[in-house]
């Protein structure tokens, strides 16, 4: 048989046309949008660690299991909305968002399902460069920040110190911490992670002071020597009032979020994603290749998959023969 028949491209095209025709009758739900058959649609949030997970999963789904994969880049909250609308199947690294789980989860609309931990742990916090700690050893503590807040003044913030916040989509409690610890700081929103990193890099190169929102696992942690500022540790309920948060960020056990309809299919692709679990060092290995060595994300994923078959073999559902 000629190759183009075997690949079933014509059939796929036909399926899409049929899908388009079938949706053009009567009531239309948002999840009826035409899609490529056998395609897993994965949300990609804007940080490299997430991309590393998504690309590795996509690579295995494509090359080992014969699926098509569509990666869609969206912010965290819109990604939940997209699951709800049925245009995405899975978020592969979720940080908290209990409020959204209440709205869309089984207690609410019932359109999304908690898929359990990914095995990665996430830390959010306030960071300063190491050279600053060398000069002012106590600056990496809450008291130190209070004492030296004028160090962080900029032309834009005037008489208050600057606290450089990250992308607008990220989880934050910074204003609550500033209020609770009575710090003389003003939040400056970088507007995007890229501009935040660019600014941090610029200050780092000039050894200027900078205090900013950051997290781990994150590839920049390997490039720059950063120190996390110590705050009283998180305890249950201390972040209930976001205007007054007398504690550090919690340690997040990152989890997966599935579209309920995707779980119901019980598809091998779902089972694979459900089985998937890996460590921070696994993720960092891939993220470093992408961000530091400038590899194409799919290349980085390919290298990792080839080098670590013993890690991912178990994720593939038992008895799966390929399609």
């Amino acid at each position: 048989m000629p190759r183009f028949m075997r690949k079933g491209a014509l059939i796929r095209l036909l399926a899409v046309v049929l899908a388009a025709v079938s949706v053009s009758s009567c009531a239309v739900r948002t999840d009826q949008v035409a899609r490529d058959p056998n395609t897993v649609r994965i949300a990609v949030n804007g940080w490299v660690g997430y991309e590393a997970s998504a690309e590795v999963l996509a690579y295995i789904l494509r090359e080992e299991m014969g699926y098509e994969v569509q990666l869609m880049r969206v912010d965290e909250q819109p990604a939940w909305q997209a699951l709800d609308q049925g245009v995405l199947d899975v978020i592969v690294e979720n940080w908290g968002h209990e409020d959204l789980m209440e709205l869309y989860g089984p207690e609410g609309k019932g359109t999304v399902v908690d898929g359990g931990p990914t095995g990665n742990e996430g830390v959010i916090g306030w960071y300063v460069p190491a050279y600053l700690v060398e000069e002012y050893p106590e600056i990496a503590t809450m008291e130190g920040i209070k004492e030296y807040s004028e160090l962080f003044r900029t032309a834009q913030t005037g008489d208050s110190g600057e606290f450089l916040a990250g992308a607008p989509g990220f989880v934050t409690q910074d204003q609550g911490m500033i209020n609770a610890f009575d710090l003389d700081l003003e939040i400056v929103y970088a507007g995007s992670e890229a501009s935040q990193i660019t600014e941090v890099r610029r200050r780092y190169a000039n050894e200027e002071p900078v205090l900013f929102y950051f997290y781990d696992p994150q590839w920049l942690q390997d490039e720059l020597d950063l120190v996390k500022v110590e705050f009283p540790p998180y305890f249950e309920g201390c972040d209930d009032d976001l205007e007054d948060v007398p504690c550090d960020y919690p340690v997040y056990e990152l989890n997966k979020i599935f579209r309920a309809g995707f779980v119901e299919t019980g598809d091998p692709a779902y089972q694979f994603l459900d089985n998937w679990r890996w460590s921070n060092s696994n993720q960092n290995a891939v993220a470093r290749m992408i961000a530091d060595e400038g590899l194409d994300p799919s290349e980085a994923a390919e290298i990792w998959v080839e080098e670590n078959p013993d890690v991912w073999r178990d994720w593939i559902p038992e008895g799966y023969e390929g399609r």
């Binding site: 190759r3 880049r73 245009v87 834009q156 600014e199």
Partner: protein, 649 residues
């Protein structure tokens, strides 16, 4: 690009036309501004008492809370309410499916088929030069390793342009045939064109869903006005004699339209289509913020890793795409380079072309060609990154200092005056400026715009944005006039400038927003720099065209009276080019506004941040209020700079 489309609405006459001396206008304007500054100092001296603060925020909070409720209702009822099941979801699912479908077709053709088809079609339409350009464009897609992304972008553009034309052309025909309809629709079109795209991303995401559907709608809305406007214009310009002749022969109105008006207006209408496509190309990149894939997304992803070189690479692909589409559709419009083929050979040529395409697709599929092999991609991002780093090391210190100075001595004081003055004084001054420059109607519009901004509860942010816009607009116009004048002096300089301006206009702003942070430090300054880069090309073009349009005999008269070159410029050329200059100011300010709000992505804060934050955190109320406030500011700036309209002929 947008300049052409606006020119029919932006015809302005100066105040000198109705007898008021020009200088008096400016004296009045300066007095109005002096009152504002004095008010600021008085209020400051009194320690900012309650009656002199910013606009009270109670109404704004109420509005945002209602909008958040609306948002929640939509989220909960998107797949239950008939409004969505039988309304919005049709549009969203239809358009979303269309994008997927077109992408599938392009995939099915493989890169070989798409290239052969594109090159042959553009040769038939626009001649071999353009065909060569199209070939180069496809080569850039392939060699940058962005073939798939380019095809996604192409599908998005095709879908949104079709959607825009499907709505826009009939509206244009109606407007061309009915004076009343035209008068009704014109303010709507004006309004659509001063709307910065950022302002309406959020509502469309809510109504049509995240990703491709909303992206297509947003792009179509953004790109539609020129299609309507130019179609209406084209239909109106059809020779009255021809219409009367056919009518007297007993043709029905439908026959007049299809047999006379449309064929005769064809070329002009195609120019409108060309404009629509160009606007769609630039919008499709911005739409990556709301989850549209393709080249815009590639830029966005590269920037997430702060990989300027990679982003630039994708930017080049978009510039090439824009230029190629412009040349092909432009050629359809003027038809100059279309190869002459005798009528009897046309069908065989078409057949042969189709046969070649089918054969190449068949061969390619038989050989199992999929996407362009990634191994064959040429990576230019490393040298660009190296160059960027080198340049940063050389100039970074200076630019950073410049950024700090601009922030401390220009932006901060101006923001302080606008945010620290009593709100009612700002409203009054805005109305006064409207009255001084453009008359009573504009005065009312200006005052109302500012009050609405206050009622929306984003007064402080809006004043912040306004300060940024004023600074950037001033720089843009000053630079634009100087460069425009220089370009009008020297043909060589103008020729060198042209491709640079083309690239500046089509290169997506995302590409240079992030590097600007590395040079000028985070905050409003890099956003302002990006805004200047973005808004300069049309200003330069308009100034250049205006001065070159001054009749030669007028110049000679000046020379023969012994004027110096400087006198010639200031007394003859600039006053004669007044219409173009005013249009340049208007265009410059509107473009600056649309870019400054995008500057929120690099820490410019203010209204743009409300939109970005609203999008990212699902804060619909805040996002919508910020978007509407941007619209109000745009309305004010546009009306004031447009001056008094020429009396309708």
């Amino acid at each position: 690009m947008a300049t052409v489309t606006r020119s029919d609405s932006g015809q302005t006459t100066g105040n000198s036309a109705d007898g008021t001396p020009l200088t008096w206008t400016w004296v009045q304007a300066v007095i109005a501004i002096a009152v504002l500054v004095a008010g600021y100092w008085v209020s400051r001296a009194l320690g900012h008492p309650g009656w002199s603060g910013p606009f009270p925020s109670a109404t704004g909070e109420w509005f945002m809370a209602r909008m958040d409720d609306l948002y929640l209702w939509i989220v909960l009822n998107r797949n239950d309410s008939p409004l969505f099941l039988y309304g919005f979801n049709y549009v969203s699912v239809g358009l979303g499916s269309a994008v997927v479908l077109i992408n599938q077709i392009l995939d099915f053709l493989t890169w070989v088929g798409v290239t052969v088809l594109g090159v042959l079609a553009s040769w038939r339409i626009a001649g071999w030069r353009v065909a060569l350009l199209v070939l180069v464009t496809f080569a850039v897609f392939a060699l940058t390793g962005l073939w798939n992304e380019s095809m996604t972008t192409l599908s998005l553009i095709i879908t949104s342009v079709l959607a825009a034309l499907l709505v826009g052309l009939p509206l244009g025909v109606l407007a061309g045939r009915s004076e009343r309809f035209y008068r009704g629709i014109r303010p709507v079109l004006d309004f659509m064109q001063i709307l910065p795209a950022f302002a309406y991303l959020l509502p469309f995401v809510l109504l049509f869903g995240i990703g491709n559907p909303a992206a297509v709608v947003v792009t179509a809305v953004y790109a539609m006005p020129p299609a309507v406007r130019i179609t209406a214009l084209a239909i109106r310009e059809v020779d009255k004699g021809a219409i009367e002749a056919t009518t007297s022969l007993g043709s029905t109105p439908w026959q007049v339209l299809t047999k006379v008006q449309l064929p005769m207006a064809r070329r002009t209408i195609l120019l409108g289509v060309n404009q629509t496509i160009m606007l769609a190309v630039s919008m499709v990149v911005i739409a990556s913020v709301i989850g549209a894939g393709g080249l815009g997304d590639a830029i966005y992803q590269a920037l997430a890793k702060v990989n300027v070189g990679q982003a630039f690479q994708a930017g080049v692909a978009i510039v090439m795409l824009a230029i190629a589409m412009d040349r092909v559709t432009g050629a359809v419009g003027h038809g100059a380079r279309t190869p002459q083929i005798a009528p009897r050979f046309r069908l065989p040529v078409l057949g042969a072309g189709l046969a070649i395409v089918i054969a190449s697709v068949g061969v390619a599929r038989f050989l199992g060609v999929d996407g362009w092999p990634r191994d064959l991609a040429v990576d230019i991002s490393d040298p660009i990154n190296a160059f960027n780093e080198w340049f940063e090391a050389v100039a970074g210190g200076f630019t950073a200092a410049l950024g700090t100075v601009t922030q401390s001595f220009v932006i901060n004081p101006l923001t302080a005056v606008l945010t620290g003055s009593p709100w009612w004084l700002v409203v009054l001054v805005a109305a006064a400026l409207g009255w001084i420059f453009a008359g009573v109607r504009t005065a009312v519009i200006s005052g109302v715009s500012f009050v609405v901004v206050g009622l929306l509860g984003v007064w402080t942010e809006a004043m912040d944005t306004l300060a940024q816009v004023l600074v950037a607009a001033l720089v843009t116009i000053a630079l634009g006039v100087v460069i425009g004048v220089l370009a009008s002096r020297s043909d060589v300089f103008a020729a060198i400038l042209k491709p640079i301006l083309d690239a500046m206009q089509t290169l997506p702003p995302f590409v240079y927003l992030i590097p600007a942070v590395a040079f000028f430090g985070l905050g409003p300054v890099p956003a302002l720099v990006a805004a200047v880069v973005f808004a300069l090309p049309p200003v330069i073009r308009l100034v250049n065209d205006g001065i070159r349009g001054v009749p030669a005999n007028t110049l000679e008269a000046g020379v023969s009276q012994g004027s110096t070159k400087w006198q010639l410029l200031t007394k003859v050329e600039l006053p004669m080019a007044r219409g173009s200059l005013l249009l340049a100011v208007n265009q410059g300010i509107i473009l600056v506004l649309s870019m400054v709000v995008m500057g929120a992505l690099v820490g410019a804060g203010a209204l743009g941040f409300g939109v970005v934050f609203g999008l990212a955190q699902n804060q619909f109320g805040l996002g919508l209020a910020s978007g509407l406030a941007i619209v109000c500011l745009g309305l004010f700036l546009d009306r004031v700079t447009q001056g008094r309209r020429a009396p309708r002929a």
